[in-house]
Amino acid sequence: MRTPRLAAAAAAALATVLAAGCSTSTGAAPEPDAAAAQSSAPAGPVTLTYWTWAPNMDKVVEVWNEAHPDVQVTVSKQAGGDDAAAKYLTAAKAGNPPDLVQAEYQMLPSFVAADAVADLAAEAAQAKAAFSEGTWGQVTLGTDGVYAIPQDSGPMMLYYRQDLFEKYGIEVPKTWDEYAEAARAVRKKDPKVFLGTFSSKDPGSFAGLAQQAGAQWWSISGDAWKVAVDDAATVKVADYWGGLVKEGVIDDQPYFTPEWNKALNDGTLLTWPSAVWGPGVLASNAPKGKGKWAIAPLPQWSAGENVSGFWGGSSTAVSATTPHKAAAVRFATWLNTDPQALDLLIKEAAVYPAATKGGELLTEAPEYFAGQADFWQQAAAISATARGFTFGPNVNVTYDAFKNAFDKAVQEKSAFSGAVRQMQDATVADMQKSGFQLAQ
């Protein structure tokens, strides 16, 4: 497989150039006057390009294009994830970004820091009502600006094998302590089976678990950033999983690998703390588990609590240099708040819409979860308890540090809290190097 390795190299190369580009002044600053003048008097149909990696987005956009002959949107499907963010930042630096771009919440701050996305506060004010307070906070970054329209979100929940829980006589764990007990019990009943696994390749999942515990990795105080990747909540989460891995009661193979797929499929892995988009993954990776998986709220840190975190989710941002800002915001608002568009997003693009109205549209449980008729009602209830945190401008560095440090910690069976400290150090060092002001 040469492409992933090349892609990593590409991302690294892009990052280097970006770092170099940061020191130079941006030549292509947005001209609000010109943009406003042009959008108030459009001559002929406006054409917008839209970079996204959601499947079938072209079909959703087709509906918009038919109804709006004056604003025609062209979808260009890109590779998702970190590469997409690096590619967009490079295109913005080079002066030819698309008009609209799909931006993961954790990447949005880096787009803002690079002046690559427009502030939509004036145009998108009416969209605010369509989202919950927590979701909207992900696109304002706790400021007065609005840097994107939320598209999908990923509140976390516990996926578990209902049939095998019964077979091994385990209750669905309500707290993380019960989860640890259940992990030990499973190992005693069948040494081939694991209750769960800790993935050292998925920083997004770890961030979600830390959010649940109340972590605040970044915050803005005045003009300075405060970085606390190694706060007490995060260390607690890390040491909890580190202890289980060391004890050998939890597996340590990463998610989304063929081995992991196999374990999900043949019933040797019983739970997966994941996000609301899990059904698609399970249905395609573990076809044999159909009807056997169910969801429950994440185990809690203390009994009686009811909180969750977010894993993944993305928004629609508008490029800072687009000459058609008003039209772009109109499209982004329609795409993410209009009931017809939300319906299409659910059916065609398989996303869990961030808009509160989206939950009402989801009534019939996914086919894979036929055994749990109230799947979406449960998901909506869990979704209401999810809390996030403000992401910083260099999440990619933090996430890379996670992968390196936790890979090593898992291999050497060393304390996970040490790995968390390495994440903190790497994040702080990078922000200092890039010239961000840090509060102590």
């Binding site: 040469r2 492409t3 992933p4 090349l6 892609a7 190299a9 590409a10 190369a13 892009l14 150039v17 390009t49 970079w51 990696w53 959601a54 499947p55 079938n56 072209d58 062209t74 260009s76 499907k77 890109q78 590779a79 998702g80 994830g81 590469d83 997409a84 590619k87 490079t90 295109a91 630096k93 080079a94 002066g95 030819n96 698309p98 999908d152 990923g154 998925d202 997004g204 998610y255 989304f256 063929p258 797929n261 196999k262 499929n265 043949d266 996000a275 988009w277 899990g278 698609g280 993954v281 249905a283 395609s284 990776n285 076809p287 044999k288 993944g312 398989a350 996303v351």
Partner: protein, 293 residues
Amino acid sequence: MSTATLPITPAGRRRARRRGPYGVAPTAILVLGALYCLLPVSWVAVAATKSKAELFSTAAFAPGTGLLSNLADLSTYRDGVFWLWGLNTLLYAGGGALLSTAVSAVSGYALAKYRFAGRNLIFNVLIGGILVPSVVLAMPQYLLFSQIGLADTYWSVLLPQILHPYGIYLARVYATAAVPDALLEAGRIDGAGHFLLLRKVALPLMLPGMVTIFLFQFVAIWNNFLLPFIMLGDDQKFPLTVGLYTMLAAGANQPSLFNLILTGTLVSLIPLIALFLTMQRYWRTDLSDGAVK
């Protein structure tokens, strides 16, 4: 490379027999190398026949039953965009390799057969160019192409691959050996101009060498990922490598398309294999010709 060792093979064999067990070692190493290269390819071929359900549940080298349905799914994926990517790749690799071969042949011939001021300097700069990996150049090229407004066009992928230092180097070495000065001299006495000499005398003699350059460039462009990945934003212009990558990195929250990607990879290998089988002939005469001279 293999033909270069041909003349000494009989002697080598004789020596090998005398040396006893050491004689097997080179063969064993080559067999290991062949296995190392061919095993992953054969895995792709086998895995492409598996359906989604079979892919991760059956043994690695057990053939599956889903090849036809995979091909059908691949063809209908986003209204057949895969075949568009295939056509794009053919355009990039075919067009790019042809243009690159033409440029290389003419420059190599000029460098080999004409004496002019700065000839050695140009050649040394070219040699230096061979040492710079094209990966390093992709980013600056993108920024430059953005400035002249050519980013995200077919030209942005074609142009950077036309000037290929290694191709020019090969062409020069080949022209030095394959085009005798006496022949050019005779042509000149008969009153042929530079262009006629190039067309009627030099190029026919250099043809096998040009085939080699064409093959090298064709394979290099066909496999190139980074340049088109950086240059192109419009997915209708993607080559297969970048297109397949967008299928692979569709985001963790999307159902994976592994079976389609594997089938697509296999399909994208077939033209390369076909090209090698048909053009192998030229390659062999080329290398032995060069050796004889």
